[in-house]
């Protein structure tokens, strides 16, 4: 891959990734007892935050529970949920932020978990479809989807419901047109839109 894609210029690539290997070796005491050739570089390095490389233990707060998952920085929140934490309610559709099947809430806001790195979701409150019901008591949005038959195959449904809950909470479901616009990040290939809209609007009316 050409370097110009990564930075906007033809900046030369260093011959090795010395800073990274150096950090790895020296851990938390960078800047101390350095050989002279590294001293100038080390002066800058002393202020650096910790760099995470390879699989490490990540701590995620999901549906009110603290969970630990060992994963590389490249693992998305979606993959961490589905493949490592057995929370398979959140679905993988396009994996590119285009379909909304992977919608979860982070600190109360709806986001695409396929474009969120698990490492960056640490310290935040994550809510998935599994976290909506209280025991056997379904969330009103789940009840409304059942009542209005807001699905056919059901694959987009967890994302639709998570998006619907946020949409109502944001105050963006006050009219049919507004709810359609603010639910447009969730695609349904079965075309259950009319019933999804009815479910979202019913919950908005009760809110």
């Amino acid at each position: 891959m050409p370097a110009d894609l990564v930075t906007p210029t033809d900046a030369p690539q260093p011959e090795d990734n010395s800073r990274r290997s150096f950090l790895k070796l020296s851990g938390g005491i960078v800047g101390l007892a350095l050989a002279p050739p590294l001293a100038a570089q080390a002066e800058r390095l002393t202020a650096y935050s910790k760099t995470i490389e390879g699989a490490t233990d990540l701590t995620l707060r999901i549906n009110g529970q603290v969970r630990t998952v060992r994963a590389e920085p490249r693992v998305t929140l979606l993959d961490a949920l589905r493949e490592r934490l057995d929370l398979t309610g959140t679905k993988k559709g396009c994996d590119h932020g285009q379909c909304g099947a992977c919608t979860v809430h982070i600190d109360g806001q709806r986001v695409n978990s396929c474009l969120t790195l698990a490492v960056m979701a640490q310290g935040k409150e994550i809510t998935t479809i599994e976290g909506l019901a209280k025991g056997d008591e379904l969330h009103p949005m789940q009840e409304a989807f059942l009542k209005h038959d807001g699905f056919q195959c059901g694959y987009c449904t967890p994302g639709q419901i998570m998006s619907g809950v946020a949409c109502v909470k944001e105050g963006h479901a006050k009219t049919d047109d507004q709810a359609r616009e603010w639910m447009s990040g969730n695609l349904c290939r079965c075309g259950a839109y009319a019933n999804i809209l009815a479910a979202v609007r019913e919950v908005a009316g009760k809110a």
């Binding site: 030369p12 690539q13 760099t51 490249r74 986001v111 474009l115």
Partner: protein, 328 residues
């Protein structure tokens, strides 16, 4: 997606310092463009530097206008009362873009730096002068129905910035504050920030290596208050613009005192049309004037095999946007 290391930078100095040592590292804020492209193997940075902790935040009134921190999210900015009141077109450009989920994630700085949706750029199996300089441009004689007709070159006809926000920012004379690796800040008007493709389509902006977007400032103006952003898409929501227009008018007694016009979806960069503004200024706010402005805006258009429709579409989009603002 390639393996990479991850560093959460606490300060701008730290973030830029890391890119000085590791020029192929990439900054990450919302990640909606970066991770999408990494999943397609279009970018393979060995290290990601998380800049979300940087203090480039806040939306505040300054003597130069409304200043928006680059780390603010599209959703929060789009619905901010100061933006809605003073710059309706900018607010609309944000809320008509992407999806609610993506707007909650994407930063203002990242939005300004989003990359083209040209299918040849986004598929590593194809040649592309923007991705691999000198490899050729299959779009010129290929699938170009959604590509640009203004400012294009024989090397590239992509709309390098496919989004909405920068179109509205270009119309209303927004200025970016940038910070380089020496900690020095400079101000660049957004109309001078993007580069036309020419023979070097791989160079898209004037950003130096490792330079960060700190903030965007939009000067307060009467024509910005009376403004709109009209976006025409293949479906009614959650799609890129085929054509869009950000317009603002200061009309007094039926005469246009000042006008601002920028077009989206049709330019190799967000397309400020000073030609259209010249036609509008001092003239009566009538459809005849708006038609003349639209003709002027598209005079230099270079349509290709499949995007000829954009000439008329952009003209009509501009006329309708001007009518909406004039009637308001």
């Amino acid at each position: 997606m390639n393996d990479f290391s991850y560093t959460q930078a606490a300060t701008a100095k730290e973030a830029t310092g890391i890119l000085k040592d590791q020029p192929t590292a990439a900054y990450i804020a919302g990640g909606t463009t970066l991770l999408d492209m990494m999943k397609a193997n279009l970018l393979e940075p060995p290290q990601l530097v998380d800049i979300n902790s940087l203090p480039f935040k806040g939306i505040e009134q300054t003597k130069d206008g409304l200043r928006i921190g680059a780390m603010e999210r599209m959703s929060a900015v789009g619905e901010h009362p100061l933006l809605v009141q003073q710059f309706p077109a900018v607010s609309q450009s944000l809320l008509l873009a992407a999806s609610p989920q993506l707007r909650n994630m994407a930063s203002i700085g990242g939005n300004i730096l989003q990359r083209t949706r040209c299918g040849y750029f986004r598929d590593a199996a194809f040649p592309c002068n923007k991705r691999v300089p000198g490899s050729g441009c299959p779009a010129i004689a290929g699938d170009n129905h959604n590509l640009a007709i203004l400012g294009v070159s024989e090397s590239c006809i992509a709309n390098s910035y496919p989004g909405d926000l920068s179109v509205a920012l270009a119309a209303f004379d927004a200025v970016l504050t940038l910070e380089n690796q020496k900690g020095k800040q400079r101000r660049v008007p957004i109309t001078e920030f993007y580069l036309l493709p020419g023979k070097t389509p791989q160079k898209e902006t004037v950003l130096e290596p490792g330079e960060l977007i700190v903030a965007v400032t939009i000067p307060t103006a009467t024509h910005a208050q009376r403004s709109t952003y009209l976006k025409v898409r293949e479906r009614s929501s959650y799609a890129y613009a085929l054509a869009s227009a950000a317009v603002g008018l200061d009309v007094q007694g039926g005469t246009i005192r000042s006008a601002r016009v920028a077009l989206g979806g049709v330019g190799a960069q967000p397309w400020r049309s000073r030609e259209a503004e010249k036609v509008l200024t001092g003239q009566p706010a009538t459809e005849a004037t708006f038609r003349a402005a639209a003709t002027a805006a598209l005079r230099e258009a270079q349509p290709r095999s499949e995007n000829g429709y954009k000439v008329e579409l952009a003209q009509n989009t501009l006329v309708r946007a001007l009518q909406q603002v004039a009637g308001a």
